[in-house]
């Protein structure tokens, strides 16, 4: 009886497979931001600091340019 009870307690502790919602939100943000940086930024992120000039400089676009092509993203 006691052994069964102990076994059930142990199962409760090790068999919960519910995925943390916090982790899902955090990883979803990483996914979206990373995808935007590599696949789609045309100066948008740096424009938050440098304004319109960032759309001319395209630093992130140029930095990710080769990966964009290689990974199949439309580039230009």
């Amino acid at each position: 009886m006691l052994l069964n009870f102990m076994s059930e307690l142990r199962q409760v502790n090790v068999s919960k497979t519910g995925v943390s919602k916090l982790a899902i939100v955090a990883l979803a943000i990483v996914f979206a931001v990373g995808l935007f940086i590599v696949g789609f930024d045309q100066g948008h992120i740096f424009s938050l600091v440098y304004g319109e000039q960032a759309f001319e400089d395209l630093y992130i676009h140029e930095l990710t340019h080769d990966m964009r092509h290689a990974a199949g993203f439309p580039c230009h």
Binding site: A28, G34, V38, H69, G72, P74
Partner: protein
């Protein structure tokens, strides 16, 4: 679930796999990018937009060095990003995936995501080197490409859930359902509007190398996250002592 451990191993797995992807690209894709950009330069000279001067080449070498230096860094960023999605899907689907250990389960999932989110979209909208692509259509092409990936990915999830309602032949139902669905979408989606003006040999060889590079990522993310998951078991609660 050990939340912090889960996030950490997912991010590390993604960045490792992305590093491998970037390194493979650096080795096998860069030569084709250089060739394609060389053609682009010749077109600029022929059209009179640029002049073949030492100043042009100094500026060119400068930005090409910046672009090349970003290949591996961008690989790590993209790998971390796609790895984050892979981690979420793996955590949610782990109990349903076939395989008797986490490495096998992760490799199976990587194969499913490679097929549905890369191979099928790649067949419809294959990668193109520089010189191919009209800047005026880049937004349309981006929408088409992302939409197709999303439709294909959600299609797999949808038909998997639908198949659970059947008593028998669940996998067959899911496979046939997805196959019919994605075939219809494949032919219904508009074609890439841009004409290919670069030599087809160059374009095809570039596509093969691009294919190998992306495939190296999916193999890596499955193996690496699978090993980390098997080693650290982030799905388990911290065991408390009752003694």
């Amino acid at each position: 679930m050990k939340t912090f451990l889960f996030i950490v191993i997912v991010l590390i797995s993604g960045s490792f796999a992305g590093f491998i992807h970037g390194t493979v690209n650096f080795a096998i894709v860069e030569p084709y990018l250089d060739q394609a950009i060389g053609i682009e330069n010749q077109n600029l000279f022929a059209s009179g937009e640029e002049k073949d001067t030492p100043e042009f080449w100094v500026e060119y070498e400068g930005y090409r060095a910046w672009q090349k230096s970003g290949q591996i860094l961008a690989g790590i960023i993209l790998g971390t990003s796609i790895g984050a999605l892979f981690g979420i899907v793996f955590a949610l689907s782990r109990n349903s995936l076939p395989g008797n250990n986490d490495v096998k389960k992760a490799i199976v999932l990587a194969g499913i995501m490679w097929f549905s989110m890369f191979l099928i979209p790649f067949l419809k909208y294959p990668a193109n080197p520089p010189t191919v692509g009209d800047p005026e259509t880049v937004v349309l092409r981006s929408i088409l490409y992302l939409s197709f990936i999303a439709i294909s990915g959600f299609g797999v999830v949808g038909f998997y859930k639908l198949s659970k309602k059947f008593q028998n032949n669940k996998r067959l139902v899911a496979l046939i359902g997805y196959g019919v669905f994605i075939s219809v979408i494949f032919f219904a989606m508009p074609e890439n509007p841009d004409e290919i003006t670069a030599p087809m040999d160059l374009v095809n060889e570039f596509r093969i190398m691009s294919f190998l590079g992306v495939t190296s990522f999916w193999v890596s993310i499955g193996v690496i996250l699978g090993f980390f998951w098997k080693r650290y078991s982030p799905h388990k609660e911290t065991t408390k002592s009752y003694t």
